[in-house]
Each structure stands twice: as C-alpha cells, then as structure tokens.
C-alpha cells in the first residue's frame, strides 16, 4: 500500500536530490511461468551514474531491455522528464536518446570500425551513397575522445577484445545519447583500458549524460557510481547513494545473507610435488606469448596465476592442456616427463583445462546438460559397443549433487541453465575425466558472488581430496 504513495509523489522516493532523467515505475514483467520483475522502481539521475547490481537472474538485464525498448513491461510505466513514454522498439528508444551497450558484443567482425560505428545510421547526405570519408573522420574523433587511436579502416575482427569494447562504446557515443546503459562493459578490458573508460564516463557525466552501469565488480561500482540500485529475485531491494554505503553492504543486499560466510579459506594439507613445468615457451610472430615459464605444483594445492589480460595466462594453460602443438618446454607429471601431446592425450594423463570463455570454448550449446558433462570422459562409459546408460546416469547424478547444480532434469538443453550453473557443468565435465591437475582459467567470469563463492568452495574441497588446481582469476 505504500506503493500507492510512491506513485503519487515521485520525488519523495528519491534518495538523492538530483534531477531524474528517466524513471521506471512499478515495472512488472511476467514471462510464462515466472515473474522476472516484480513492481520494480528504478531511477536514472541526470548526469549521474546509477549502478544496477544483482545476482545472475535477479532481473537486471530484463529491466534494462525494458528501458532500452527491447521488451515491453507487463505492467508499469516509464517516465522521461516527467512524461509517460511508450517505447515501441530499440530504434524508438534510440531516437529518444537511450543507448545500450550489451554484454555480448554486438559488432560485425567483417566490417570496418567506422562502418560498425555508423551501422544502420550511415552518413549519407544524398540518402543513397555513404560518405565514407565523413564517417572515418567522425569515427576518428570519437575514438580520439576515448583515447584510443584505432584506425577506423581496420576490420573489427582484427581488433583485440578490449579494443572492440571501445568501438562498441564509440558506437553508443555516436548516437548523441542522453541515457547510456552499460551492461558489464569492463568484463573484457585491461586495468589501463578500464581507467580510460572511467575517464570517458566522467566526461559524459559532465556533459549531462546519465549512465546506468551494470557490473559484477563491486570495487568498480563503489568507485564510479553515484547511486546504487540492488535487485534480488526480480524485486527492488535497496537504492542508496554510493557514498553512504560500502562493499559488504552491497553483498549483503545482493545475497541476502552475511557475506563473511561466503569466502572461506580452509586449511589444506600440502603434499609432494605433482607437476613441474620447465621452460614452457609459446612463440608468436615477433616474440613469445609464453616466454620460458617454469613452475611447480604440489598435490592438494591451489595455485593462483595472476596477470593482466594478454599476459599469457590463458596461453600457458593451453600449452599445458595440449591445445597448442607449437609450444615447446618440458612438463613433468608425477616426476615423469610427458611427451608432447594433444588434448585427449593430456586428459588421459590427468591434465584438464576448464577454459575461460564458457560460451565459446566450454559448452556445446545445442546439446543437453548431461551430454555436455560427459563429453570429455566418454570412454569411461563405453563398453566397447555402446555407452552404458547406467554408468552415465550415475556420473551425472554424482556431479549434480556434488556441485549442487540447479537443474530440473539433466536431459534438458544446457542453455536453459543460469550462467553460474553452466559454469559448474563445465567444471563437472573436467572433473569427470578424473584429473590429477585441474586448470581453471577465470572460473568466476561473468557469474555472481554466490555462485563464485560456491565454485571456490568446490575447488577447496577438491584440493583437500588431493587434486591440484591451478587457477587464473582476473587481477
């Protein structure tokens, strides 16, 4: 009943005294069988950054899709400058000055930087022929503003992931946005690139642009945002000014329980050395991505490998897992020198990689949860003629229980799982090969705090059972 009062007097619900650029009021979005958003209020303040936080599946993306005109709310309304607006399409939202940078890259790799920036809004004075030089000049200006001197003529496929993200931002800037939604823009950026992005955000704020910022990185949020809005299970939990709160407050609101219980570092018994790597080298044109790296790993040990994006962590893991046949160096497992081998040989010997990019490298999207999980260990269920169902089902059931994977039925398609559960399936696939060494490349990428802590707890437990893990979390 307090909601009625809220609707009547909009300003009173604001924790701050800044002017509202946009307000989403009592938004409810019902999908078949589920309520994605339940009477959520959301404010976008003029010239301020509002960070939208919540676990995976909390409704952030749905809310942003509604604000960007991709989805329409079941009930509730959007107010822009105090007037109710109806968004018919993303294009319509764009015309009103609402821009969105999606989490998944939305660029055409086969087109140039300039062509991507002006895709669908080509500069064509006559209406027929595209003025390419004008596009290039304008693109160069935009990129200059972002402190990235990327040649507008380059193909997007030739850019690094971080640079592609910059192009994505430039594309949004080219539209004269008043409200800019950024869905995890830093997930692929290096620390230096994040700094540039933050500078650009400050610059945009100074020009009166309002920003909605979605991220899982809480340190970033406390640094860059002016307001914080927390969603949990489709409901608005809290809205506050960032200066009045801290990281534990955010975690508590997000998860709904004491954060101290989430991160636990148990004691592990460290035993004899199991893996030794000497002089691992991966040459590329004009240098090395992995330059004579040596390291050792003990049984029951969890070793963290740190480094910026592009420092060669992923590449080192790929060398160990047999993905890079051109790598040189010596790998000793249990004191014995391993011959150079491909992925399946390394898996047989007990080294398995859980790759960084679960959509591109970890999962087969078209098949079921169970078939994904079993893919790397098929020979364990093969009796010479066929795969025995009983053995398969036992293995799957064990993993679903052991890693507490939330799945209604393992035969359902993998893409129906949430990000965190998909990640657990990839880890389970690795574990089913009964590895001696598990290489986890950023196992917590793109998943929420609760799932993250669960994954870390699983690794802790595995290490106690004598498995050596090597992980490379983002620095």
């Amino acid at each position: 009943m307090e909601t009625v009062a809220e609707v009547a007097t909009i300003p009173s619900t604001q924790p701050g005294d800044h002017a509202l650029a946009l307000r989403a009021e009592q938004i409810t979005k019902v999908f078949p069988g589920t309520i994605a958003l339940d009477r959520v209020d959301f404010n976008v303040y003029r010239g301020k950054v509002n960070a939208l936080i919540g676990e995976n599946g909390a409704g952030k993306s749905t809310l942003m899709k509604i604000v960007a005109g991709v989805e329409r709310p079941t009930t509730g309304r959007l107010l822009m400058d105090g007037k109710t607006i109806q968004l018919h399409s993303p294009l319509h939202a764009e015309k009103l000055g609402i821009g969105i940078i999606y989490q998944e890259m939305n660029l055409c790799p086969n087109l140039s930087v300039a062509e991507n920036i002006f895709l669908g809004r080509e500069i064509a004075p006559s209406g027929l022929v595209v003025d390419k030089s004008a596009q290039r000049t304008r693109a160069r200006e935009l990129l200059h503003r972002l402190e990235h001197e990327i040649d507008p003529n380059l193909l997007v496929s030739d850019l690094r992931i971080g640079q592609q993200q910059i192009v994505e931002i430039a594309k949004a800037l080219s539209q004269d946005v008043r409200i800019l939604i950024m869905d995890e823009p830093t997930s692929a950026l290096s620390a230096a690139e994040v700094e540039v992005l933050f500078k650009v955000m400050e610059d945009l704020k100074a020009h009166g642009v309002s920003i909605v910022y979605i991220s899982h990185k809480l340190e970033e949020i406390t640094r860059i945002s002016d307001y914080v809005t927390v969603l949990r299970d489709g409901k608005l939990v809290a809205e506050a000014r960032t200066q009045e709160i801290d990281v534990p407050w955010i975690i508590e609101k997000m998860v709904g329980k004491n954060p101290a219980a989430l991160f636990q570092k148990g004691h592990t018994e460290v035993c004899e050395e199991i893996l030794r790597v000497e002089e691992m080298t991966l040459p590329i044109v004009g240098g090395y991505t992995v330059d004579h790296v040596s390291l050792a790993l003990r049984k029951g040990e969890v070793v963290g490998l740190y480094g910026l994006m592009g420092a060669g962590r992923s590449e080192l893991f790929e060398c160990l897992a047999g993905v890079r046949p051109e790598a040189t160096g010596r790998v000793y497992l249990d004191g014995k020198l391993l011959p150079a081998g491909n992925v399946s040989e390394r898996i047989n010997r007990g080294i398995v990689l859980v790759p960084e990019d679960r959509q591109r490298e970890g999962l087969v999207q078209t098949i079921s949860v169970a078939h994904n999980m079993l893919l790397a260990s098929l020979r364990n269920y093969f009796n010479g003629l066929y795969l025995t169902r009983r053995k398969e089902q036992t293995a799957v059931a064990e993993m679903v229980k052991g890693l507490s994977i939330k799945v209604a039925n393992p035969t359902q398609i993998i893409t129906s799982l949430s990000g965190g559960n998909q990640q657990k399936v990839v880890v389970a696939k690795g574990l089913l090969t009964s590895p001696k060494i598990l290489l986890l490349d950023e196992p917590s990428r793109g998943i929420d705090v609760a799932a993250k802590s669960e994954i870390f707890a699983i690794m802790e437990r595995l290490a106690e059972q004598g498995l050596a893990c090597s992980l490379s979390p983002r620095s």
């Binding site: 999908f31 078949p32 069988g33 589920t34 897992a321 993905v323 491909n342 992925v343 399946s344 390394r346 898996i347 990689l353 790759p355 591109r360 490298e361 970890g362 999962l363 087969v364 999207q365 078209t366 098949i367 078939h371 079993l374 893919l375 790397a376 098929l378 020979r379 093969f382 003629l385 066929y386 795969l387 939330k406 799945v407 209604a408 039925n409 359902q412 398609i413 893409t415 129906s416 799982l417 949430s418 696939k429 090969t433």
Partner: protein, 356 residues
C-alpha cells in the same frame, strides 16, 4: 474447498496443453507423413496396395540411405554435395568391372572379378572419394560446401570418362566368367525388396551409432561447438573425416542398388540426388548449422518426400507442380522447425525458473 482444488487442476491442464503442442510439433514430420498418406489414400484408391507400398519404399530407400550419410555430415555442421555424383561414379565402376573387367595390358589378360568383389571395390571407391572430401576439408581448411562442390564435378566427370559418356548395358555378367548375379541386388527380395532391408539395417545401425556411441556424441558436439569439443579432447579432424567417408559409403551403396535395379550403369545416374538427400535431412528436423537432429527424423523426411512424389504422380499432378509443392513443403518444414526450437527453449527456461 472447491476453489482450492480447482486451481491446481487448471494449472495442470495448461501444462498438458503445452506438452501436447510440444509432442505435435516434435512429431511434425511424422504427422506430415500420416497426412500425406491419408490424403493420397482417399484420392488414389490403390495407393495403399501392398505392391504400391513396396514400390514407394524402394524409391524412399534411395533417398533414405543417402540421407543417413548426409545426416552425420550435417550434424557436424558440414554438407556433402558430391553424393549424387558419387552414386553415378560407383554405378559406372561396377558396370565397367562387370562388362569390361580389369584390363591388364602388360600381361595381355583381362581379369573379371567375382560379383561380390565388384561390389566391394565400388564401395571402397565411394568411401575413398568421401575420404578425399574429408581430407580436403580438414587438412586444407576448405569449406565443406566448396570441397564437395568440387567433388560433385570431378566425380561426375570421372563417371562420364569411364565409358566416354556411354551406358554400360545389360549388367548380367556371363556364367563362364563367374560374374553373374548382380541384378539380384536390385530385383531380389526377402519378403520385400533387398534395398528396403538395406535401408532398415542402415537406419538402425546409424541411429544406434548416433545415440549410443562416443562417435555419435562427438559428431553432435562438433556441430554444436567445434572449439568446445576440441578442448574436451574430441579429435575433431578424425571425426569429420569419418562422416564424409560414411557419406561416400552410403552413396556407393545407392549407386550399386540403382545400377542393379536398372541392370545398367548410366553416367548421369544420381543427378540431383544430393538435393533430395539434404531435403530429407532438413525435413526430418536436422539443423543445417549442425548439432541438432536425428537419424529417425531423416528416415521420416525421406518417406515424406518419397510418398509425396509418388503420390502426386499417381494422382496425375503435373511434374511442374510437383516441384513447386516439394519446394513449399521443405521451406515450410524449416519454418515449423524454428517455431518448435523457440518453444522448446522457452519451456526449458520455464522449468528451470520454476526450480529457482
């Protein structure tokens, strides 16, 4: 009280309705087949005669056997355009071996192999041509479309070269040479024609391989996400090579069946068969982008195409209209496929969210 009981019933009836929709959509190829059969049974009175059914099944067997090989290829995300030409080439090889034998000029003799050996040689030839497809695709990174398009021309050209474009007629062999009996493959029967048994046998083995063996799982995984499959220890190149060999093998068997049925080997045999095979696979619900589909679907797809074709002929629809109808049916099938895929994801999502 009554309200409390009414609510759950309503909910369950709603979910059964979506389940029924699901079953209907998933079994759409089968439903289409039943519809087609029903319509023709009404219009053409002798449509369901045992003799007519066997004739149709013989026609279906050709597309179905090619479709089985094609299904494996398409499941990996590839395509094999060369199967029609391989059918012709293998038919010509068999024809040559029966009528001309193997000429060994350096010894001044002609060797006439036994009929079984002839069939074996033709099958090996088809499988090897499939292997060439696979090697070009995996070793030289050529797109399957291009590699097999090249093979389409090369194999057809070779089929024409074997006898200068002429047919090998009257493939009965000669008793004194011990190479008789080839027509038995096409004409002989055990209850029904042998080609129908071959189709049934191939379908059962292929469905088993696809569902219950590591090879089958790997085929699906490669089509769904090649990189992920590779990182899971799947030897991608080896599996891809195998699927093109399977396709070539199926093509060679079809070549033998047709040459035997006609008791002649014509170099143009099998023209456009690749398109019928692809149509059967697609009608059966296999996604051209790979990773999704089934052998059972392909068999039903082959039946839909075969029954539709023969039925339209029996009813007396002009061959021009037959083509129009066939085309519409294929495109319609893919549209329904998209609808079903979307619905399936939605239902899976829903189940997941109910779980929390």
């Amino acid at each position: 009280m009554s309200q409390a009981t009414a609510a759950p019933i309503k909910k369950s009836s709603g979910s059964t309705w979506t389940e029924i929709q699901q079953i209907l959509l998933r079994g759409r190829a089968f439903i289409a087949l039943i519809l087609v059969v029903a319509v023709f049974t009404v219009i053409a009175p002798n449509f369901l005669d045992a003799a007519n059914i066997e004739i149709m099944a013989k026609h279906v067997a050709i597309n179905a056997i090619l479709g089985i090989g094609m299904t494996f290829v398409i499941l990996t995300g590839g395509i094999d355009l060369s199967v029609g030409s391989l059918v012709g080439l293998c038919a010509m090889i068999a024809g040559m071996l029966i009528n001309q034998g193997i000429i060994l000029p350096q010894f001044g003799v002609i060797v006439y192999p036994h009929t079984w050996l002839i069939m074996f040689i033709a099958i090996i030839a088809g499988t090897l041509m499939g292997a060439v497809n696979g090697l070009i695709i995996t070793r030289f990174n050529v797109a399957p479309f291009i590699a097999t398009l090249g093979m389409l021309y090369v194999a057809r050209g070779m089929a024409l070269l074997i006898n200068n474009g002429y047919t090998f007629p009257n493939l009965v062999g000669r008793p004194e040479l011990g190479n008789t009996g080839f027509p038995e493959l096409g004409a002989g029967s055990f209850i029904v024609n042998y080609s129908i048994w071959i189709m049934i046998g191939f379908a059962l083995v292929a469905a088993f391989v696809a569902q219950r063996t590591p090879f089958g799982r790997r085929v699906y995984a490669i089509g769904g996400n090649e990189r992920a499959a590779e990182l899971s220890g799947v030897k991608v190149k080896r599996v891809k090579l195998s699927v093109y060999m399977i396709s070539g093998f199926c093509a060679s068997v079809v070549g033998l069946i047709i040459a035997s049925q006609l008791v002649a080997a014509h170099p143009a045999t099998g023209q456009f068969f690749e398109l019928n095979a692809i149509a059967a696979v697609v009608l059966g619900g296999t996604s051209l982008s790979g990773g999704r589909g089934s052998i059972g679907g392909t068999i039903i797809g082959a039946f839909v195409i075969g029954v539709l074709g023969d039925g339209l002929v029996m009813v007396g629809v002009s061959s021009f209209w037959q083509q129009v109808i066939k085309g519409v049916v294929i495109v319609l099938a893919v549209i329904i496929d998209q609808v079903q895929a979307r619905m399936q994801t939605r239902i899976a999502l829903q189940k997941q969210q109910e779980l929390g």
